[in-house]
Symmetry: D2
Subunit: 241 residues, 4 copies
């Protein structure tokens, strides 16, 4: 269970959320220091300062840090700070970046491209593994369809299908996967019941004022409630959160 | 919980499946007597003879009959035999048919069109309700996307979203919704965890020789195992199967 | 070249448009008397009164009438008035309607469903032809995708592909196929250059006040300009408008 | 008009095609030296050796070289050889690469991502332009949809829409945009009629034995015939090839 803000915005924000999600039972802290943004004029992240804040949050809470690396020349820096390197959906077929994280000695959370087939997804993982890094987690984060009430259509059938054709763990991102915080809780429950190996969730202490992705972030209180709910579902499918 | 064959093929087949799913805990029996087929040269269903077989299955098992009505001039006949009138995905915007089932005195299971938005889906239900029939169940059965490993992409986020904007019960069809029998079990679990009010599943005693949709049908044994699994999940979300 | 209003709204509106498109070179007049509407509370068309208006327009202009038939029990009535029976996208797999127009003795303009494959489209035509009516025109009217700047994505590659696998004429509907009147002109030019056998275009004398689909209707003046442009393109591909 | 092989495979192949397309009227030569491939085990291109071959082809024919740059650390090298830097669809939101080509002093051909909206496409161009490089060409190369008879759905309405909202030239790639060589000719004609400012086409002297994308490559003879056809259409829309 990985939770945290979309972006690292400030030390105070990050630490507050880190403590809250730790208490609710998270084991990983997500948070973007380098942000891939559609517009060049949007907030691009705090860069190394953001990584330092994440490192401090790890020190205080013991949470593993999961953060995105966007470019080959960031791999060394991010590897120095993070426990898990995230490759974002827009970079799923940035093959040079895949090769670079394949040479890193940290686990990689690989997000599915927004219209990638499962075959393309698995071959992207293969780029990483063929360079010697076998610690790859596959993250379904919704695909782009004609649907309008969600930002993406979360394709949960990917969980059993990926388990059928690959040994890699499957993580679900219901925040990006729906784009709506009122749908996150149900999709977390469904993901656990479907057999997902992990969840990565956007939690913000003040979603309405989040610098990025407020509409899909839940509050620490909602996160805590949800954790209780999914613990029960996990038990019902003979797993543990 | 509604289960049964895609098509009513024969009396023996239907009764055998009906008894099996009844024993495993189903309350409804699905089975098509009138089959909407992409090709005019494919098996089109047994028509009234199929309805008679379904009626006999009801008599023997007590299961409610859910079967498709494809045309305005079939409404009277199907109403005479069935407990629930199903309107298929291809007919979701067959407005004359919607009006006709709106005048019938039986509940309607309305399937979402394969690329319908939720707004279009709800307005199709509104056609039925505006004619005086308020017993409408909304059935998500997967949408058409670029994905190749499934026949349709099951959009489970529709469950909480439809519950948010409508009072109507939501039924999930994981058989049509994935098109692959090895994905049905996981998607049933996920649907229950997401809060679905019902499931409709294709069960066949000999999927490999089914006249229609064998690839997405599970066996009575698999159905029985799945029922046990989802009863546990239902308990974990404070519901009962 | 078929042109006319989305809906028949009144005698004056229809006759005015009919004369204008006739003068610009159209050979067919389109116009809906029975309108398939997403909402039951929206304008549903003038029904037989609309058909009578269309018949009068034919008498005055000599234009052939192309109008939609939505239900089996309308087939006889519409056949009495129209020269071409249109089956709408939402009814492309309304198999009973396909059978009914297959028994009619008038040409059929069959619109592609909004997410139909070409195989499904051709098999829908096969329903009509297998009943003895071989006068089927295939109409591409855009498919539903994730794109936002258009109502539908006009898939012009369907023109050469349908010509490759079928002998049936292919008609393009750039009005429905884009949903934006400022894109209609370019898509008409492109359709002619791609080899389309016909065009069906929404023309309205007052698009801003049209009862239906004003945003995708062009004016008679724009239609006239466009006709001049596509005549030149037709010549460049050795055809004639 | 840009034409040439998908990949630079050998000196002989490239020079032969270059001479042929030059003679037919092309002004640019396309050809990949660095190839973004779905699988890490597929042919990845000849790298700098490929660039040298392209440079020799330019010397012999005078054609401008258009070739893909896949990574930030290739920008300098590719800039040394190429006349136009191509950014591929998979890299449309590789923001570091966009920034890097924005700092290069060569024109950029930016391909639309396979499920990018036009807004995302234009904002990707904005990344390049905000770094000071205003010579950006927008290339529509088909979007990913449910359609099965094509590899991608070529969305020609993008031509007039991009012209309406941007001053940038629009280039159409019918080879990638359909994935089928028998559809390329018609889509080139349609693109010109729709107002496209350029075309980029895969031409191979032996499509059946091409190392990459043979199914969508046309022969030099077909290219020559097509050039004649589109010259006529260009005249009909008051343009010149």
């Amino acid at each position: 269970m990985i939770a945290g803000p979309c972006s690292v915005e400030s030390k105070q924000q990050t630490l507050e959320i880190a403590h809250a999600v730790k208490e609710a039972g998270a084991v990983g802290l997500r948070g973007g220091a380098f942000k891939p943004r559609t517009s060049p004029y949007a907030f691009q992240g705090l860069a190394e300062k953001g990584l330092q804040i994440l490192a401090e949050a790890r020190e205080q809470t013991g949470l593993a840090i999961v953060t995105e690396v966007m470019a080959v020349d960031q791999v060394k820096l991010v590897t120095d700070y993070a426990d898990v390197l995230q490759v974002g959906a827009r970079n799923m077929q940035n093959f040079n970046l895949l090769n670079a994280v394949g040479e890193a000695r940290k686990p990689v959370l690989l997000k599915r491209g927004m219209s990638a087939t499962l075959e393309e997804f698995l071959l992207a993982a293969e780029y990483i593994m063929s360079k010697g890094n076998s610690q790859v987690m596959l993250c379904e984060r919704g695909i782009r369809t004609y649907e309008e009430y969600v930002r993406n259509t979360l394709a949960l059938a990917a969980v059993p299908e990926l388990h059928r054709v690959s040994h890699l763990p499957v993580v679900i991102d219901p925040s990006q996967g729906t784009g709506k915080n009122h749908l996150v809780d149900s999709m977390c429950r469904a993901a656990v019941a479907a057999g997902a190996d992990g969840l990565i969730i956007e939690v913000h202490n003040d979603p309405e004022h989040a610098m990025t992705d407020g509409a899909q972030s839940i509050t620490p209180k909602q996160f805590d409630d949800m954790m209780k709910a999914i613990r029960r579902i996990a038990l019902a499918v003979d797993r543990e959160v």
